[in-house]
Symmetry: C2
Subunit: 355 residues, 2 copies
Amino acid sequence: MTDPSRLVTDPDDVLDERKAAILRAIVAEYVTSGEPIGSKRVVEVAQLDVSAATVRNEMQALEELGYISQPHTSAGRVPTDKGYRYFVDELRNRHRLVDDGRQSEAVAQLMGTATDVEDVLRQTTQVLSHLTHLVSLVVAPAVDTARLKLIELVNLSPQVVLVLLVTDTGRVRKQLIELLTPLTEADVDRVRSAVADSVNGRRVGEIEALVDRMADEAPPELRELLRELALAVARLEEAGPDRVYVGGRAALAGPGGLERRDLSRILELLEERVTLARILAESAVTDEPLIRIGEEHDLVDLQGTALVAQRYQLATTGSLGVLGPTRMDYANVLSSVQVVAEQLQRTLRRLSSGD
Amino acid sequence: MTDPSRLVTDPDDVLDERKAAILRAIVAEYVTSGEPIGSKRVVEVAQLDVSAATVRNEMQALEELGYISQPHTSAGRVPTDKGYRYFVDELRNRHRLVDDGRQSEAVAQLMGTATDVEDVLRQTTQVLSHLTHLVSLVVAPAVDTARLKLIELVNLSPQVVLVLLVTDTGRVRKQLIELLTPLTEADVDRVRSAVADSVNGRRVGEIEALVDRMADEAPPELRELLRELALAVARLEEAGPDRVYVGGRAALAGPGGLERRDLSRILELLEERVTLARILAESAVTDEPLIRIGEEHDLVDLQGTALVAQRYQLATTGSLGVLGPTRMDYANVLSSVQVVAEQLQRTLRRLSSGD
DNA sequence: CTCTGGCACTCGCCGGGGTCAAGTGCCAGA
DNA sequence: TCTGGCACTTGACCCCGGCGAGTGCCAGAG
């Protein structure tokens, strides 16, 4: 198993079954209780037919291997990031995700009332936060391979034109263009009709160049608008901050949430959004969930947090996920994220390509 | 002075000058230091030519009048909500807002790069949070008196139509309509052209009824779309959650921010947004800033916080403000809010009605 | 009548010490 | 290899006393 997301590739990281059982018990118990777990407690929950002393020896070994650690000498053990990592890897190998149906049902119901794509994405954050009690992140589908359905120009004033771009996935982008030289309504109309015909149904990726070429050949007074139009299309492709939807921030501050001093930094990160967009995008290359735990993050600000993300696919690809303290219920989170991703996929497909 | 926002209308609430000076000193000192203020400290900062003992007597009186209180017996005094209220009322009577120019300049610069109205509003939250180190709120202008500039229909699939509504203030609303019975492109075209002519330039408020009437007279297969269209317009008017922009949440968790247990509830409130929209809307009726301090809020969740809001006016009205702990620098916040409101007004005017 | 210095009082904070319980590491023996 | 036993460590809790900040009040001065 060569998982690139594994930072430490230790030859000893194949644990014998008893150690694994003990680690499992520690992670599971710690996640629910939040308190360090002692050997006695492990014996109780792990159903091992050995004494606490034996477990202690094993725990010592697990600590040396880096899977668990003690907050202080006379305390129980707490999973390290590596411990969590082992736990989730094993989790995914053992019982690959049981969707018990209740989840999908609840999700489908909660996502029923949306009135446009943005609404769907926003509601998705709600659902996801509700299921996991964590901060949820949803990245809107990429548009570069989507087809342009409509370009509309509205001249709000002689020097200000509003551009509307609509893709066949129902995504809308609007942008104001401020012109140096005023244009008449007629001018704008000419540009509109010229562009509308040659653009309809093309891939977003092709259009910038196309419009730019039109600008070269157009009468001088129209060139500025066409150039700006090309730029606006280019910007449509960017994974801008407005492509990320965030929900459930309250969970961060609630019980079991983050340390106060981390909170502020994380909230900033959530507001800035472009960094998160980039990280989430990494999950879009494969259908496997992306899981980053504590030290596995590139950003120091994300130490102490774990991210579970999963892509969803239409004609194009987007992704969603949750962010929370490393001490989270990975089993539940993993299945929630996957169920919601599926459901979102289905919903968007229904809305855009009309099933 | 009969201010309706004053909860307690106490006959004694006209303080003699010395008491007022002491209260001022306590508020000012407490706001910067965060620690309860003792009589000695008051004498130092308030430049009074009396002894600490005299100040103590006055402080006792102030406490009985409800302007200050002690966290515990042997601690200094802390302003109560009523104390803050007196402070800001006096503040506004004395030196009515000096804009030193530096502020406006910084603001204008920071708001320069926006590409559409939403962008401007989002950037405004950034600027406001940056100036005040508090959570900032911006409510987009109301649209009921705005004029419709464009209705566009895009049929994404036979049963899904995307409606785009654009007002002359540059505001865009998009909504998906799912039809029970499929329509051809030609059908949608017919509706589009029928609606486009009769709607252009009308006030948003009039249009719902107009489109509904068109539905009555239209051929049966087009009725469903027209009815839905009328509903979509109606929804445009609503002060929905998407009209509120929130920024600077990180300030809540930073030093000098809120208590941890309040944090979660406030974050929830910020995410839900519709409640805030309603509160902010109250500031839109007058040009005076709206100030709510602690117990003056209707919502229990907002105890411990203060809100300072101010409307801005285009053809229509919107509002913006900040939310933070009652212990905030009211003088600075008041002027920041007002400067930013003015600047936003100017920016939006430039973008929409083309100066 | 007002202001002032003085003084006793209250209370939170801090550090020390003692107890408690949890949990550990290790060892000798089965 | 496992187990019971045991000494050890350490944080949590509580009580205590001293310290300092700040107060309320009072008697006396202006």
